[in-house]
Symmetry: C2
Subunit: 293 residues, 2 copies
């Protein structure tokens, strides 16, 4: 079911992303090209999918009407990838098998393409129709806090300052929570908010989201050790080679697998107040421990 | 009156900016330091002042209650300065007599400090109380569009691609409109929106804002030729030395002065539907042609 669900949603998301920023007149066509280059470079589109799936869990109806805020999340995610790849950060030449943004467009344009994706994401959220203004404001708040200095950006700073240093488990957890977990959390909570979740549903989905983020990160670290290079898009073992602290290096492969399983179990448990309408959320978190990229 | 008004507002703005992002626990203290370094590096604080003054023109009351969205604008302005100064952009070592952000904190942190200022600006707008949600959404839209790919970022791309090239007057005008004018426009329109401006007031203040932006840019170009280096914070004549196209190089000093005066006259004319409550807006645009920095 996971595969079918994604196969039904990803083409919609890709179609939306490809036209979202088209206008009659873009004042800087090269900037637009740079934004589209990274926005349409593939990827699992997990964040928009999670937003729509959380809305479905709450409303029992297709999450498709929320595709614009869902795509806004992908814009924020894409901006963060472009900036993370820059020479002053991780200095990566390739991402998902393609040249990174700054390798194609130059560093200045890459920084600006990231800036614009981040900035316009907020305006894209507001294109949502048929939702009360109060809910949209809450979504803007979720996005801004998750992406900001105590969220993604803060996490990236911790990562940057931890380079070639052995960090403790608390720092590792905080870093991932901020750098990756916060946007997953915002995706799921925003879908819930848009669909009008009550307090109990918000608490359950937040619990689900936090365990989802944890399971995602641990399985990412596991894949670095046991995955196939071609599928994960970077050399296997690169974390070890780069002296990166991960759940696997700080614990052990066995212990990391156990922790991932525990996080998945907690995520599933948090969904117990929902029926079949949350089935996809159950599938997607189970998928994390079986995925190969 | 201009000086007194600014002297009454600037300390409020500085105080707000200095505490706005303080939390009990910042996950990355170095990031916070980098953000505060540039946020509190002085400046005319024109954008927050304009937002509050536009609100005053509409409501006839002190614009101080709107200080949070006003400061959010200053966060966006500050982010743009940090990124513009980067080695991949203008590669400046000094701004307002101080080392630029990347010179103090390194390029990676500087990029991220800019990212975070931009991101959290949206959350800061939402801290506004006692304003209907619909108005706040409009302000978020104003900020996002003004700062985005067809606004500030687009303008910076045009600037970047025009380096060492002679550009025509249309390109110059579009570049400035996007890079600088758009945020002035958003400042003034947002103040009006927050205070509940009617359609006629919005049209008048938008007209004012666009002429304000034009007058600001032309006088900036004039100052580069006739200003005192110490006051404007960069060597006089640096535009000519850097082969930059400006209103002065494309026309003449005399013609540029005439155009600035015309823009100021148009801005004042747009305010004719307002009485004394718009007096500061009149003062501030007149100040542009007499300023020395």
């Amino acid at each position: 079911m996971f595969k079918e669900y994604c196969e039904s949603k990803i083409p919609l998301i890709e179609a939306e992303l490809s036209t979202l920023l088209k206008t009659d007149h873009n004042i800087a066509p090269k900037l637009y090209d740079a934004m589209q280059y990274s926005l349409l470079a593939g990827g699992k589109r997990l964040r928009p999918i999670l937003l729509m799936a959380a809305a479905e869990a709450v409303s029992g109806e297709d999450g498709k009407p929320y595709i614009k805020p869902a795509c806004a999340l992908e814009m924020i995610h894409t901006y963060s990838l472009i900036h993370d790849d820059l020479p002053a950060m991780d200095d990566d030449d390739y991402r998902r098998g393609n040249l990174t943004n700054h390798k194609v467009f130059g560093e200045g344009i890459a920084i600006l393409a990231g800036d614009a994706l981040l900035t316009n994401a907020f305006e894209v959220v507001l294109r949502q129709e048929n939702v009360p203004a109060e809910r949209l404001l809450k979504v803007v708040k979720e996005f801004s806090e998750a992406a900001g200095y105590n969220g993604m950006v803060g996490g990236q700073v911790i990562d940057l300052l931890s380079e070639n240093k052995k960090v403790d488990i608390e720092t590792l957890r905080l870093m991932h929570q901020a750098k990756t977990g916060a946007l997953f959390r915002a995706a799921i909570r925003s879908g819930a908010i848009l669909a009008g979740a009550n307090k109990e549903e918000m608490i359950a989905l937040t619990e689900y989201a936090e365990n989802f983020g944890l399971a995602f990160q641990i399985t990412d670290d596991i894949l670095d050790v046991i995955g196939e290079a071609a599928k994960i898009g970077k050399p296997v073992g690169s974390d070890i080679k780069n002296n990166k602290s991960t759940y696997v290096t700080l614990y052990s492969l066995e212990k990391a697998k156990e922790m991932a399983n525990d996080a998945v179990a907690s995520a599933l448990d948090a969904l117990k107040i929902f029926g079949r309408e949350a089935e996809f959320l159950r599938h997607v978190v189970r998928y994390l421990i079986t995925r190969d990229h």
